[in-house]
């Protein structure tokens, strides 16, 4: 299908935190339910998308600051990420995606012999 105008998305505000065993992405996606959420990893790119429910059709808008746009954002994954073990959870409009570091890259404590 050909569309002339590309679909517009809202980029969810995100925080990226590095921990000893991986990276945690936290993205604000208020209004998105679990059913409206999609997380994909393709090649070295993690993409999160969130569909929101539209405002009531039979109501008259008095004041609007929220948008109806769906969310979409992509993150490039470094080689140290084990993309087969990515996990995610959604709680009160905040998506948390955990990207574990590959075993070989985790800090290891080396015992000193003798």
């Amino acid at each position: 299908m050909n569309t002339c105008t590309p679909k517009k998305f809202l980029r969810p505000a995100s925080t990226i935190v590095e921990k000893a065993d991986g990276y945690l992405i936290e993205a604000d996606m208020p209004g998105v339910t679990r059913e409206g959420l999609a997380i994909t990893v393709k090649d070295d790119t993690l993409t999160i998308t969130g569909r929101r429910t539209n405002p009531p059709a039979n109501a008259r808008a008095l004041h609007r600051e929220r948008t109806n746009l769906d969310y979409e954002r992509s993150f490039e994954l470094g080689r140290e990420i084990d993309s087969s073990r990515v996990s995610a959870r959604l709680e009160q409009g905040v998506l948390q995606v955990f990207l574990p570091k590959a075993e070989a890259l985790k800090p290891r404590r080396i015992e000193v012999a003798g």
């Binding site: 590095e18 009531p56 008095l62 004041h63 609007r64 600051e65 929220r66 009160q92």
Partner: protein
Amino acid sequence: MNLIRYNNPELGSPLGTFTDQINRLFGLTNRPAESFGDWSPALDAFEDKDKYTVSIEVPGLKKDDLNVTVHDGVLTISGERKTEKDVKEGTVHRTERYYGKFSRSVSLPAAVRADKVSAAYKDGVLTVEVPKAEEAKPKTIEVKVS
């Protein structure tokens, strides 16, 4: 008598700042939704035949960190978004999310049932419903043919 804090547009929310300044330039200060605090969550207000619905995007809060009050015809939604433990424990590479206190106020029309206001927090959106008083609901008047 209520004290109204002066909201400096230079220090206010990055969203809408330009509009605020234009409004100030032209003396248009009757903003429909006042905002105070560290951040200004996006707010919508809708009206249908029985009620007003105000929704505000406040992701990642606990129910106990949200306050909804109706006082002297003003609906105020306030709260605080606290930094998560996860964020404190690691090295932050990038942060775009807002934390801290917020407060948004909306003037309610006179004919509402302030005692019947209800609030629900779901998917990071707080929705407050304010029922209209009977006299404000649209009425159908029967036309008699004589």
